[in-house]
C-alpha cells in the first residue's frame, strides 16, 4: 500500500498501540532548552523516576541568555541557565552551555553538529522543532509534561495526524527567498489552517532550495498550525550529510524517506512560485502579509464583520492606517536573527544588500548570528566587517534574542521592528512592540531605507 513520508516515519517509530487509541512512539533525539525543561526534571524527582537513556538527549542554552556578553544579564536568567546545567550534569546529558564552541540556537546547532538525518524522530520543548523536516526527519514541538515523558520513557504518546501536501511549482523570481515562500504558504493556508496536519512540502521551488532555505520553510510551518513539516530527502540532503559521523549512520537509507508516488494526502495546496513576491507582515498574525509593492488592507477588502474587526484590532495595535502603502511604514529597529533566519546563508544574503551602504539615521540595527560556529565562520568570511561598516551592531553571543525577547533584547512600547523572525504576535518582541516579519535581505533593505523597502531595488 502506498504511504506518505509522514506515515513511514510514524510507522518506523511506533513502539506499541495503547488501549485508549494513542500509540507510543520512540524519540531518537530529544533536545532541551533552559526555559521549558526545569519543571520536567522536577517532575522526575517528585515521582522518583530516572532518565531512560541519557545519551539520547542534548541540552542547549539559547532562550534567556544575553547576546552582548557571556555573563547572564540578571539573576533570574542565571537561575534557569544553572538549573539546566545542574540537571544535565546530574544525569550525564550532553550540555552546550555559554562559552561552549557548539552553543547557539538549538535548531541552528543540531544540524550544524550533524545530529539530524532522514528517518529520525526529533522532539523538543520548542514549537519550531518542525525545522528538522528539512532533512526528512519528523520533528515537532512538545510541552514540558511531554519533556518529562521523553526523559522518563524515551517515548511520547502520539496520535497520527492527517496529511497535507503543499506543492510550490516552478521557480521563484530573483529577490524572492525561502522566507517569502513560507510566508506565502502561511498566507494561503492561514494561521491554523494546518492544525491537526503533518505537512509535506513538494515541488521544484522547494527542492531547488539549499538546506538553510528548506529549514526556514519547515521552521515556520508551525505558523500554519502544522505539527510536523517534511521535505523528502534528495541529493541536496545527501550532500549536506556527508562528513557527519552521527547522521551518517541514519543516512544509509535516506532514499527510502520519500512519499510513494501514489500516496494520497488528506489535503493538497498548490502555489505557483512565479506568483510569490517579497512579503512583509502588516498585522499581528503571521498570515497577515502583503507583497512589499502593495498596501495594507482596508475594511472594504473584507466581507465578514469578524474579519473587519480583526483588521481593525491588528491595525490599531500596529499603529497603521488602512490602505497605507507597505513602503511608507517607517521602522525604528532592524533585527536579523532567530531559528528561522540566522544561519550563515542568511547572513550572506543580508550582507549582499548592506555592502557599500549604511543604515538610515535613527534606525537601530542588530544582528545575532545563530550559533558560535556561525559567528566565527561569518567573521572569517568578512561578513562581520560588512555588517559593522553598514552600522549594524554585531552581537558576540548566540541566542534567540529579540525573536521572543526573553533576554534583555527587548523592543519598547510602540517600537517598530523589521525582523527576520517568525512571529509578529502582540507583545512578542516586548510589550507594545510592533513586529514586521520579512526575509533577512528585506530587513537589510529596510534598515538602509529607514522604512520597509523592496529588496529588488537594491541590486
Amino acid at each position: 500500500m502506498s504511504r506518505t513520508l509522514y506515515d513511514k516515519l510514524v510507522d518506523a517509530h511506533k513502539v506499541c498501540d495503547l488501549p485508549d487509541g494513542d500509540m507510543l512512539i520512540y524519540v531518537d533525539l530529544h533536545i532541551m532548552n533552559e526555559y521549558t525543561s526545569p519543571q520536567a526534571f522536577s517532575g522526575l524527582y517528585t515521582k522518583g523516576l530516572e532518565v531512560w537513556r541519557a545519551e539520547a538527549h542534548l541540552a542547549v542554552i539559547d532562550h534567556v541568555n544575553a547576546t552582548r556578553s557571556r555573563e547572564p544579564h540578571d539573576t533570574e536568567s542565571k537561575l534557569l541557565i544553572d538549573n539546566l546545567q545542574s540537571n544535565c550534569s546530574k544525569h550525564g546529558i550532553a550540555f552546550y552551555g555559554l562559552g561552549d564552541p557548539r552553543q547557539g540556537i538549538e535548531h541552528v546547532v543540531v544540524p550544524e553538529q550533524g545530529l539530524v538525518a532522514p528517518g529520525m524522530l526529533i522532539a523538543c520543548g520548542d514549537s519550531h522543532t518542525t525545522t528538522y523536516g528539512a532533512y526528512g526527519a519528523l520533528g515537532f514541538g512538545i510541552g514540558t509534561s511531554e519533556v518529562e515523558h521523553v526523559l522518563a520513557t524515551q517515548t511520547l504518546r502520539y496520535k497520527r495526524m492527517k496529511t497535507m501536501r503543499v506543492t510550490v511549482n516552478g521557480d521563484v523570481a530573483p529577490g524572492v527567498t525561502a522566507k517569502d515562500i513560507i510566508m506565502k504558504v502561511v498566507q494561503v493556508v492561514g494561521a491554523g489552517g494546518a492544525n491537526g496536519f503533518a505537512v509535506e512540502f513538494a515541488g521544484s521551488a522547494i527542492h531547488s532550495l539549499d538546506m538553510a532555505g528548506r529549514m526556514t520553510v519547515c521552521n515556520m510551518a508551525v505558523e500554519l498550525g502544522a505539527r510536523a513539516a517534511l521535505i523528502a530527502a534528495d541529493e541536496v540532503t545527501e550532500t549536506a550529510l556527508k562528513g557527519h559521523s552521527h547522521s551518517g549512520q541514519f543516512a544509509y537509507k535516506a532514499e527510502s524517506w520519500i512519499s510513494d508516488p501514489k500516496a494520497i494526502f488528506d489535503e493538497e495546496f498548490t502555489i505557483s512560485g512565479a506568483d510569490i513576491e517579497p512579503l512583509i507582515t502588516w498585522g499581528t498574525s503571521p498570515d497577515q502579509s502583503v507583497p512589499i509593492t502593495a498596501n495594507v488592507p482596508c475594511a472594504e477588502d473584507y466581507i465578514s464583520p469578524k474579519a473587519k474587526a480583526l483588521l481593525s484590532r491588528s491595525l490599531q495595535y500596529m499603529g497603521l492606517i488602512e490602505g497605507q502603502s507597505a513602503q511608507s511604514i517607517k521602522i525604528d529597529t532592524a533585527f536579523i536573527g532567530s531559528c528561522t533566519n540566522s544561519r550563515i546563508e542568511d547572513l550572506r544574503e543580508a550582507a549582499k544588500i548592506l555592502e557599500g551602504r549604511h543604515v538610515a539615521k535613527g534606525v537601530e540595527a542588530i544582528v545575532v548570528p545563530g550559533s558560535a560556529m556561525t559567528r566565527i565562520k561569518a567573521e572569517a568570511e568578512g561578513l562581520r566587517a560588512i555588517f559593522e561598516a553598514a552600522g549594524f551592531e554585531w552581537r558576540p553571543e548566540a541566542g534567540c534574542s529579540m525573536c521572543l525577547a526573553m533576554n534583555d533584547d527587548i523592543a519598547m512600547d510602540g517600537e517598530r521592528v523589521a525582523s527576520s523572525t517568525n512571529r509578529n504576535f502582540e507583545g512578542r518582541q516586548g510589550r507594545g512592540a510592533r513586529t514586521h516579519l520579512m526575509s533577512p535581505a528585506m530587513v537589510a533593505a529596510a534598515a538602509i531605507s529607514g522604512h520597509l523597502a523592496d529588496v529588488r531595488d537594491f541590486k
Binding site: 533570574e76 496520535k159 495526524m161 492544525n195 504576535f425
Partner: protein, 206 residues
C-alpha cells in the same frame, strides 16, 4: 489525581473571548516565563489583556467584569493557543481558574498541554461556537454544563455534542499520570531499542 477523583462534568459561567489566533505569548507573556516552577503563573495569564502598563485592571476586559470575573469556561476564537509550546500558558490558565475552552479548533501543542493539565477543549462547529459566544455575552451569567463522558454541552437553550478524541477524553476524566502509565510498557520500549541496535541506528549524543 486518582481514579476516585474523576472529572465527568464541568459546570460554570462562560466568558466570550471571540478574537481569532489568541497565541500563547498573549496567554502567558514572556516576563512570567523566567521560572523553574509551575506555580505563581495565575497572575501572568492574559496579563496584558487584564492589566495596563501601570498594573491597573483594564475595566473593559471581559474577565475583569462581573459576572465573568467568576467565569471558569471560555468561549474562544479560531486557532486559540497558537504559537509557542510553553506549557506555562496552560498552567497559568488553570491557576486563574479556567477549566474549559469551547472553540472551533486549537493549536496542536496547546491541545496536548491542556490534556496533561485537566483543561478541557471541546471542539464545536463555527455556528455553534457563535451561539455560545452570544449566550455567554448575557450579563446574567447563565450556567453552561460540559459532560465529558457523553461529549455534550448543555445550557438553558442549547444542547449540542462536541468533538474530542478518545485518548484526551479518557485522560481528562481519569486525570491520570501519562508518564507512570507509559512506563507500564517498558518491555515494549526495550524491545524497540533492541531492534534499533540490530539495525545500527541508535542516536547517541556525545
Amino acid at each position: 489525581m486518582k481514579d476516585n477523583q474523576m472529572t465527568k462534568t464541568i459546570k460554570g459561567i462562560a466568558a466570550p473571548l471571540p478574537l481569532a489566533n489568541v497565541d500563547t505569548d498573549v496567554i502567558m507573556p514572556k516576563r512570567f516565563l523566567i521560572t523553574i516552577t509551575r506555580e505563581g503563573l495565575g497572575d501572568g495569564a492574559f496579563a496584558d489583556l487584564r492589566f495596563d502598563n501601570a498594573g491597573r485592571q483594564r475595566p473593559e476586559f471581559i474577565l475583569n467584569k462581573p459576572p465573568w470575573t467568576q467565569a471558569n469556561i471560555l468561549i474562544v476564537g479560531d486557532n486559540f493557543g497558537c504559537g509557542s509550546s510553553r506549557e506555562h500558558a496552560v498552567w497559568g490558565m488553570r491557576q486563574l481558574g479556567i477549566d474549559a475552552c469551547i472553540g472551533t479548533g486549537f493549536a496542536g501543542i496547546f491541545y496536548d498541554n491542556a490534556r496533561k493539565n485537566g483543561l478541557a477543549l471541546p471542539v464545536v462547529s463555527p455556528e455553534m461556537r457563535d451561539l455560545f459566544l452570544q449566550f455567554s455575552s448575557d450579563a446574567r451569567g447563565k450556567e453552561i454544563s460540559i459532560d465529558l463522558e457523553r461529549r455534550t454541552i448543555t445550557t438553558s437553550g442549547i444542547n449540542t455534542t462536541f468533538e474530542m478524541d478518545d485518548a484526551t477524553q479518557v485522560a481528562l476524566i481519569r486525570g491520570r499520570d501519562d508518564t507512570l502509565d507509559s512506563l507500564e510498557h517498558a518491555g515494549a520500549i526495550r524491545d524497540y531499542e533492541e531492534a534499533l541496535q540490530r539495525e545500527a541506528r541508535v542516536s547517541v549524543i556525545k
